[in-house]
Symmetry: C2
Subunit: 661 residues, 2 copies
């Protein structure tokens, strides 16, 4: 038999609750957690529901009364103010006092005799007095006396129905038969950059101003001011470790290497060291730390690549051969995707018998770089490493360094990408790179922002990467680069580009592939950053708009709106208080001009049909007075393929004026 | 650190799984449980997934290989063959042999050297041989030898890629690092009547053929043949217990009682006994048992009403005053819904300190009637009794008597209705009674049949009850009763009517209410079952159609189809093998004829556009040859407001003939 047979309240259908509570949801410091639950009891008794929450390290729960919405649904919310893990759960009980108050009011209004009912109330108030202390206890006892006093019926009723009595009784609820939800749900709280960041990826070895010369961390220092001017706050470096010399790949991934080939930085490790070493041609560990420091001075953070794989000459291969798969001929298994072979890379075998030591070593790599000032890791191909490892490793690191950010570079199947996010990755690469049409954007972004996915998966949108030059950038010219930048930067609050290939609009691909011709992965580049038509100023403008408009600092506030042309994508973001409203319209076709009638959701923004409002295109600096829902736009991609409007509601006086315009 | 760091397979998003596995899903004997799950691992290794299931009382799991669908989704199924509780879960592992086989095939096709790869396979086959026994072990060793033999490469490849080897290795999988889903999910298996039943409700006291005379169980016996002829298989009796004499209600629920008023049967208990006693005017316990037995002879089962509430003179009130709420003046609290008062009924207080004894006594009521042959209980207002009680009581009863059926009469908020079903009720009353338009039916039935609700909530559709005479029956005349019957009987595989008010088309209501005028709840009735226009034959025909067509024995197979007239509702049901296909079209408006073009989903039924097919209206016995999707219907409610077609695919020979028609 049950112990709690008298606990009549049911609590179910709690949101957020990821996979039955197996995983935490995610927030950044300062964000709200809005918790919903169905809370109800049998019969018609009133129910009280409250949200309980605490930081992991707190002693007790904080209690927040929940608000009844409709259809037995209740809502409560709290704001997370510190890094780390928060927990929340829900408690509900039958509120006999509220039930009594509701009933007695109805009876009183129906002129029924409520003498005995008043006495029932006295019992409830006296019970509350017993639970209360000090002055409250006295006040409650006095209230009870007044209700009990048959000589002054009017006073008794007035007190019985008073808000003062209600508030005081609710302060000391009868929780003997309270139901506590059977799970404590977790929220991981990250720093703000987890939610809002602009990434710039660049190969340090190609940063030298001198053609043919291997770049260094010092060269990287030199370009920091421009990275900051363009508005990026994360400078992500592909692997900076020694590059394998055995089976090194030549230009364009050729298996035939020439002596001066620099190899892929993702083929990590040689006799010069492994994951904790620096490629000698880039500089020293001290140079690296200096770069980290200098970057900070420019408001830019260095992100490290974390690629758990080894070149054949990586020290691990000799020291820990048991961490790799051995073939029957005694050689170690290189990476394959038959019939393709990657002889320059040995994957780690997560089924190794020595997996515990392996996990510890892999974790120590992260700790090593944390020790040298790094707090952001872009993780290469996490979907080819065992899931349990990520859960453990990220959990361990974030326990000690909750400010750490892990970006999952998993371009793979959706379930796998989402699982990695659930396991702990802070941000994730997405399918944005291959979404082009209005329907594709609407479907995908709706999934990312309007479903449970938004609770655990923070998208980071990349128009290009060293591995991917998508078709639309190959054929769309400069307007395509501009429109993809605006889409990435305004649809998602986290985005990044691989430069300078991006801002220089590099579009030459391997024939029939979405890969760069003469990819920087396999050779040194000398970029002319001042090349005519470069997008540096345009990018700076877009990032400035992002920074100055808090509506663009979030992703899940995205809403799509109607426009009568399928080549135009129209969407908006607003802060909760509507103090910042951004509307974006993008011409998805880089080749020709398109026009259409936008349907502006003025009702959502509290704007009247008669009321004119100002829209300021922050890209072109053009301003328009619009009125009503339908407003016309025309976008010529040769000029600007997008408009980013800040909508300003006008002052009353201006509105009066409008009537005479 | 984890113990299972090498378990690389993830299992998630399992269906059915009600509320994170807190509640079982429901099936009837002979039904399938189709289980879906996302199963995947890191990297590109092949994965093997299997479904495990067992009866609660079985020792070990039965294993069923799952089938890969797409997007990492897998499916497996099993059929429940016995009453009681089944469990299922899922297991998955990385299938190294399958991975190897897939890769070696690609390499072989690409003309790569696979000498070493073959040896890797030998290791896998030898490991399987070590896990195998007897002949299988020998066969595997021989396979390994053949693959190992460098002198006959062709034979080695042939064996390596042979289905025989694959089958044998899969028989002895390497499950060292298998992942078992972290929950064992339950299915409650009921008897077939839980899924397919036709209920007839009638007050036994109104069964006497003599006007003014109180009916008896013997009178009930006399009408059994007609109940059976009409096609009902459940005869549900409102409470048959002694009726309270204190505060007894008069006709039309009047508080002023006359001496000959019979009172409401739901005001249970008097000095003549309580929930385990029989109202003396109905007969004796022996008479009741005889009725139960006689009904069985007619293929009809007696369903009892279970109303846990007491008249003021119920024996419990004296014997267990602590089971009721006491008011400050010493009286016991009667039922209220302020300002309404129900002085003839004392609700039970589930917060009683003596709740454990109370629960035991309430359970013993059910056991008492089970002891007298009853296995179906229609539970009155379960939503006004504590939820934990239902879960416990139904669980206890069904453990010992798994054939028991509990119908939840909860006309209340959706969350509450669904919760009761989750807690164990076998069938449930629904909102069908108030659904009228095409959109209302489509929305509601889609929720009931196409969502998770269908896993735990078995609807039972009632066009009327003693409490409810809905507006459309008040004003729609005989055609309204006909169309509501067809809807109830064909949309839901469980349905019932309150007779003879239904088949006699009684439509007089209390003014402005959806309640019967001169309700049988408060007075004896003498029904003229032969009244002109009665629907007994029509009902018999509909129930015969139900019985003869297995497609109508289920609810969740319902599909709505298009018709170009919003007054027509067009839907269908089919058996899984398509051997029985039923299409129903109903004119929802009882007042005038409507016509329209049905869009018959011939593709679903495997019918070609050129192929004619026979539709046989089982209500009118009319037959039609139709061809293609669009076919015309016209429904005059004064003749028949509905058509129930059986669709028959025609034989090949007939089809050839059609070309020349």
């Amino acid at each position: 038999m049950l112990n709690n047979g008298r606990n009549r309240v049911i609590i179910e259908n709690v949101k957020p609750e990821i996979d039955a509570g197996r995983f935490p949801s995610k927030r950044a410091v300062g964000e709200k957690v809005v918790v919903l639950a169905d809370v109800f009891a049998d019969g018609h008794d009133a129910v009280f529901a409250q949200l309980l929450y605490k930081k992991q390290t707190d002693g007790g729960w904080k209690e927040i009364p929940m608000k009844f919405l409709e259809n037995d649904r209740w809502q409560g919310e709290f704001t997370v103010k510190e890094l780390g893990i928060y927990f929340y759960t829900i408690e509900g009980w039958v509120d006999h006092f509220l039930t009594w108050r509701k009933d007695i009011k109805k009876k009183f209004d129906a002129d029924q005799n409520i003498k005995v009912d008043l006495l029932s109330g006295v019992e409830l108030v006296e019970a509350a007095a017993n639970r209360a202390k000090g002055e409250d206890a006295n006040a409650l006892s006095e209230f009870a006396e007044t209700i009990k006093n048959e000589k002054d019926f009017a006073a008794a009723v007035e007190v019985a129905l008073s808000r003062g009595l209600l508030a005081l009784v609710e302060k000391y609820p009868d929780k003997r038969f309270a139901t506590r939800y059977d799970k404590e749900l977790a929220v991981v709280v990250d720093r703000e950059k987890a939610r809002f960041s602009a990434w710039y990826e660049r190969f340090p070895r190609s940063c030298s101003p001198k053609p043919g010369k291997h770049g260094t961390f010092k060269d990287c220092e030199a370009i920091l001011p421009e990275i900051a001017r363009m508005g990026f706050d994360v400078f992500y470096l592909p692997p900076i470790h020694p590059i394998g010399k055995i089976n090194r790949k030549g230009k364009n991934n050729s298996p035939a290497t020439k002596p001066d080939d620099v190899g892929s930085p993702w083929a990590i490790g040689s006799d010069e060291g492994g994951h904790k070493a620096i490629h000698p041609q880039l500089g020293t560990l001290e140079d690296f730390q200096r770069l980290v420091k200098k970057a900070q001075d420019h408001g830019v953070e260095i992100a490290m690549d974390l690629a758990y794989q080894c070149a054949p000459d990586h020290p691990y291969v000799k020291e820990h051969p048991e961490w790799f798969k051995k073939r029957p001929d005694g050689t170690i298994q290189y990476a394959e995707n038959p019939p393709k072979k990657y002889q320059d890379i040995f994957p780690i075998n997560f089924e190794s018998e020595d997996w515990e030591a392996l996990w510890q070593e892999l974790k120590s790599v992260v700790e090593f770089w944390i020790g040298h000032g790094v707090r952001i890791f872009r993780v290469d191909n996490p979907h080819t490493k065992a899931f349990p490892f990520w859960k453990w490793m990220i959990g361990e690191i974030k326990r000690d360094y909750p400010e750490t950010i892990f970006l999952s570079e998993a371009f793979t199947r959706p379930k796998v990408m989402y699982r990695l996010a659930k396991l702990g990755f802070t941000q994730s690469y997405t399918y944005f790179t291959w979404r082009n049409t209005k329907k594709e954007f609407t479907d995908y972004l709706t999934e990312l922002t309007q479903t449970e996915v938004s609770e655990f998966f923070r998208p980071n949108f990349w128009p290009n990467t060293p591995d991917i030059l998508p078709e639309h950038l190959q054929f769309g010219g400069r307007p395509a680069f501009m429109l993809r930048l605006v889409l990435a930067a305004t649809l998602s609050s986290n985005y990044g580009i691989y430069g300078p290939a991006f801002e220089l609009c590099v579009s030459e691909a391997l024939p029939g592939k979405e890969e760069y011709l003469n990819s920087e992965k396999f050779e040194l580049k000398n970029w002319d950053w001042n090349q005519e038509g470069n997008l540096r100023d345009f990018i700076a403008r877009v990032n400035k708009i992002r920074k100055e408009n808090p509506a663009l600092h979030a992703t899940q506030n995205l809403k799509f709106y109607e426009v009568d042309n399928d080549h135009l994508l129209f969407y908006g973001k607003a802060t909760e208080d509507l103090s910042n409203i951004i509307l974006v319209v993008v011409n998805l076709e880089p080749f020709r001009a398109h026009s259409g009638w936008l349907k502006v959701p003025i009702g959502e923004f509290g704007i009247d049909f008669k009321q004119a409002y100002l829209v300021h295109d922050l890209l072109s600096d053009d301003k328009y007075f619009w009125q009503g829902e339908l407003n016309y736009v025309e976008l010529n991609p040769q000029i600007l393929p997008a408009q980013i409007f800040r909508l300003r509601k006008r002052l009353k006086r201006e509105m009066d004026f409008d009537y005479f315009m």
